[in-house]
């Protein structure tokens, strides 16, 4: 018991000493990086990579904390409502910032008002892939096939309301076709069903589809971004293939509470960018299918979130998807 008392006394003394320092000395204690998903996914892995890098440059431990639940909303809400002291960061993503606001009727936070977006970390294009036995060899033939057999083609996705699902819905709207959406739990089982020819096409993110494309188990027809992907340079974009302006990427980045002081945001942004420019880190992110994002400053990122939010609000409404 006495040991415990001594320990508490020491701790209290240390805390007093530290309270003297001003905010300019940020960071003076460990940071936490909330990942609003269970451990193990690409967002989680990239967060851990980033945490290790930030730990070096900030000189304080960066603890990754998984707070899964409600499609990521719980974890993001935690930071949106948390202290704006720069010690709590969250890895927010297209789902939590741009799609969920229209998918979930009562989202507890406002992605623009409650959060300050610091740096866009990863941008992964989606690719349109089709089963090998589907006769369509390019986008035009696919559209023709879908028109010829309305309601007969099935497109899979990793979940209802995912970018894969919404890309499919956008495709339907832009081409005036009708296909049936088959939701899966993650894109792996959907890919397996596609290899076996049970579903016909899907929009999957490049990282999970690339091994199967390279192995020739499925056929890629186009990427969903305006620019061609450096991973599959010979693959046209949907925009080139006639669906003018079709642009969808999966992305995620670091956000903090809205009222976080500007100097802290600047320092954080600078350190994250420094990590992203380091050769080894860049290579790891590339391994996850990410092209280095062109959006770099907090201002650009915030503007980007706002425009994505607008795009997806319209798209979700059009697709009729909802979760309540």
């Amino acid at each position: 018991m006495r040991r415990l008392l001594v320990f508490i006394a020491l701790a209290a003394a240390a805390s007093l000493a530290a309270a003297q320092g001003g905010p300019q000395s940020w960071p003076t204690r460990p940071l936490r990086l909330v990942v609003p998903y269970a451990a193990g996914g690409p967002i989680d892995i990239s967060s851990r990579l980033l945490a290790a890098k930030l730990q070096e440059s900030l000189g304080q431990p960066v603890v990754v904390e998984n707070r899964p639940g409600a499609g990521g909303n719980i974890g993001v809400d935690l930071i949106a409502k948390g202290p704006a002291d720069g010690y709590s960061l969250v890895m927010s993503a297209i789902a939590t910032l741009a799609i969920n606001p229209s998918l979930y009727p009562d989202l507890p936070y406002d992605p623009l008002r409650d959060l300050r977006h610091v740096t866009l970390l990863v941008q992964v294009p989606n690719v349109l892939i089709v089963a090998n036995d589907l006769p369509a060899k390019n986008v035009q033939e696919l559209v023709a096939l879908a028109k010829q057999r309305p309601g007969k083609l099935d497109f899979g996705s990793g979940s209802t309301g995912s970018t894969g699902h919404l890309a499919g819905e956008l495709f339907k709207v832009m081409t005036g076709t009708y296909m049936v959406h088959i939701p899966y739990k993650g894109s792996a089982p959907a890919l397996a069903d596609m290899m076996a020819g049970r579903i016909h096409l899907m929009f999957d993110n490049l990282a999970s589809a690339l091994p199967s494309i390279k192995a020739g188990k499925v056929r890629a027809l186009a990427t969903t971004t305006l620019k061609r992907s450096s991973f599959l340079t010979e693959l046209p974009t949907l925009d080139e293939a006639g669906l003018k302006g079709f642009d969808m990427t999966t992305w995620w980045g670091v956000s903090v509470a809205a009222k976080t002081p500007q100097p802290v945001v600047d320092r954080l942004s600078a350190d994250i960018l420094k990590a992203m420019d380091a050769a080894d880190f860049k290579e790891r992110l590339r391994g996850m299918g990410s092209e280095a994002p062109a959006i770099r400053t907090p201002e650009q990122f915030n503007a980007f979130v706002a425009s994505e939010l607008k795009t997806y609000t319209a798209l979700v409404k059009r697709s009729g998807a909802k979760a309540d």
């Binding site: 040991r3 020491l10 701790a11 240390a14 805390s15 204690r29 431990p61």
Partner: protein
């Protein structure tokens, strides 16, 4: 009407209650859909109905066939074990892992047959050191070590 098998009687009631609960909630809030496009209510309604039916069978049987009585409930361990895990859960963030662990150990030890102050204290110290080393240092779980009100933790 005499209950011949109390255990089955109550088990039957429990199943009926659970079954009806799922059926009612599903019908009230979710869509049934059709067999082609099954709505979110389809599966719970079918299963809930089945559960309630099975519960009824168990219940009716309990009135016909003799069976064992319900063993006595012991509320002391039940209460203390539940309370100790709740105490841990809700104290972990504000007070840190060591203090929350101590709370858990003391409460649940108190729910046992014999509570020896000294033993439990020693056990707490050993377990706290072990958990801090293994879970926080070793496995890097994001648990605080010091209570919230201490600004800068001397450990880590």
């Amino acid at each position: 009407m005499k209950i011949k098998s109390p255990q089955d009687f109550w088990a039957g009631l429990m199943f009926i209650a659970f079954g009806l609960f799922f059926v009612v909630v599903a019908l009230k809030f979710y869509q049934m859909g059709s067999s082609v496009r099954m709505g979110p209510a389809y599966f719970p309604v079918v299963l809930g109905g089945l559960l309630a039916t099975l519960g009824t069978i168990v219940l009716v049987n309990s009135l016909v066939l003799a069976g064992p009585a319900v063993a006595k409930f012991h509320f002391r361990p039940l209460l203390f074990i539940a309370a100790s895990s709740l105490a841990f859960a809700y104290l972990l963030k504000p007070l840190g892992l060591p203090l929350a662990s101590i709370a858990l150990i003391f409460i649940c030890a108190y729910g046992g047959h014999e509570f020896r102050w000294k033993e439990v204290a020693i056990m707490s110290v050993v377990l706290v050191i072990f958990s801090v080393l293994v879970f926080v240092e070793g496995l890097a779980l994001p648990f605080p070590i010091c209570p919230d009100f201490i600004e800068v933790c001397p450990i880590r």
